[in-house]
């Protein structure tokens, strides 16, 4: 098995120290997000593994959190997208806003939305302003396509000893395209509801550029997992 990338132990230690200081100060403990990729062959044998901390929340994610925590509508600082504004950029880069609060909606009951994990072949540098993958890999069995599995409604697990609430978001991508596919980027999408206009929208909240890239040979399966962890103080 090929280990393409693994966690940086020094950084993990620094995160633990950060959490210790936050605990001491009785502050909200910073959520941490990890990204894992695993390629398996037809027999289910793991061929390669990639593990890293995801460091790539984009402006959409921050604005979503700010709107909920500060209880202010997305149009309260104007209706353009960018620094100093709370609007959300949709997949085309157009600003979405609302006079009510924006919030994440459950994902399982709505067909036709692509929320969840999507992978791509683009290698544009990560940017805080990203609102789409550089080059999304389409769902299918044609050349350069991967078959995406359905993602179920997320349910976290809780560890009573560590007080960690952990969510694993997993998606499988099967390569039935007939050729190898090199995955270079991973995006996480959430489904938002704009309440005053009763309109849903898929929004990119994180985009990770892979280094090194992950190759999925024909008939191999790629499993991508985002693990989000929030530690409770009690």
């Amino acid at each position: 098995m090929l280990i393409l990338r693994d966690l940086d132990e020094k950084e993990e230690r620094e995160i633990r120290e950060t959490h210790e200081l936050q605990k001491e100060m009785h502050l909200f403990l910073t959520p941490v997000c990890y990204l894992n990729l695993e390629v398996k062959n037809q027999e289910g044998k793991i061929i390669s593994k990639y593990k890293d901390r995801s460091k790539s929340w984009v402006r959409n994610f921050y604005n979503w959190q700010a709107v909920q925590q500060m209880a202010c509508p997305t149009n309260s600082l104007g209706i353009t997208y960018g620094e100093g504004s709370l609007t959300i950029a949709n997949q085309l880069g157009s600003p979405r806003y609302d006079s009510q609060y924006l919030f994440a909606h459950k994902t399982s009951s709505l067909a036709g939305f692509q929320n969840g994990i999507i992978v791509g072949t683009g290698d544009d540098a990560e940017s805080f302003e990203s609102y789409d993958l550089s080059a999304e890999i389409e769902d299918g069995t044609g050349a350069g396509q991967l078959q995406r599995s359905i993602m179920s409604q997320p349910i976290p697990t809780y560890d009573g000893v560590t007080k960690e609430m952990t969510l694993e978001l997993t998606r499988n991508f099967i390569n039935n395209s007939g050729g190898s596919i090199e995955v270079k980027e991973v995006g996480l999408w959430a489904l938002f509801l704009y309440f005053s206009v009763n309109s849903y929208s898929d929004i990119l909240v994180s985009r990770d550029l892979l280094s090194p890239t992950v190759t999925v040979d024909n008939s191999y399966k790629l499993t991508v997992t985002y693990m989000i962890q929030i530690t409770y103080p009690a």
Partner: protein, 234 residues
């Protein structure tokens, strides 16, 4: 002017250290909350001042944040309130959850409140029981009115945050005035922050107990400010 407390130099240094660590490690910024309480005399001059970091987000706040960041239904871990579940507890002690994530939906569900209302925004009380992560309402809320032991609560305006492009800080202030028309002195010991989460249940998300009683003399008013800050990475 009597200063009951102010934010210590040590805490200021620690906050700066945390900010640097978050930037270096590319961690998501956490909401930093400060609470300021001032007693104003009849000429609006500050007679007593208290300011500290609010360290009192409770289980309700954590569960709301987890639901939003993990996009999971608030009943996905059961409908009871307590460790290991995502249900919130309303001000009357009833657990609340549903098959959507906890969220603020309409602009009337946040911190803004009409004059005299005690369901949103800032409320104060006389109770001094130590803070608990499981708190769901003030121990002894001071009612609206002009009778003995009562305060006249002002309206809480809709929140419009302010962004500083130099520090990249987005700041929201929730402010409320409470006028003592009761004819006697009222001792304030606790401050709470309320919202109305999805499902229309009124929920306290933070309770701060003051280190010593803030006495609001007859015809004096109490001004309470919660300042929530989120630092953007770019």
């Amino acid at each position: 002017m009597e200063i009951l407390k102010h934010i210590s130099d040590l805490d200021k240094k620690r906050l700066n250290r945390l900010k640097e660590q978050h930037k270096k490690l590319h961690l998501m910024s956490i909401p930093i909350c400060k609470m300021k309480a001032q007693v104003l005399d009849k000429r609006n001059k500050v007679s007593v001042s208290y300011e500290d970091l609010s360290r009192s987000w409770n289980r309700n706040f954590y569960n709301w944040q987890v639901c939003q960041q993990m996009t999971c239904s608030s009943n996905c871990m059961g409908s009871a309130f307590g460790e290991g579940t995502l249900a919130c507890k309303d001000k009357d002690g009833n657990p609340g959850s549903s098959n959507t994530p906890h969220h603020l939906r309409t602009a009337s569900q946040g911190y803004q409140e009409n004059s005299g209302g005690l369901l949103h925004g800032i409320i104060v009380g006389t109770g001094s029981t130590p803070e608990s992560f499981e708190d769901y309402y003030l121990e002894s809320v001071i009612e609206e009115g002009t009778g003995a032991g009562q305060l006249n609560y002002s309206a809480v305006s809709p929140i419009v945050p302010v962004y500083d492009p130099v520090t990249k800080e987005l700041k929201a202030e929730v402010i409320r005035y409470m006028l003592n028309n009761s004819g006697g002195t009222i001792g304030v010991n606790e401050v709470g922050l309320m919202v109305c989460l999805s499902g229309m249940y009124y929920t306290m998300i933070s309770r701060d107990v003051l280190p010593s009683t803030l006495n609001v003399l007859a015809d004096y008013q109490l001004k309470v400010t919660y300042e929530i800050t989120i630092t953007y990475p770019a």
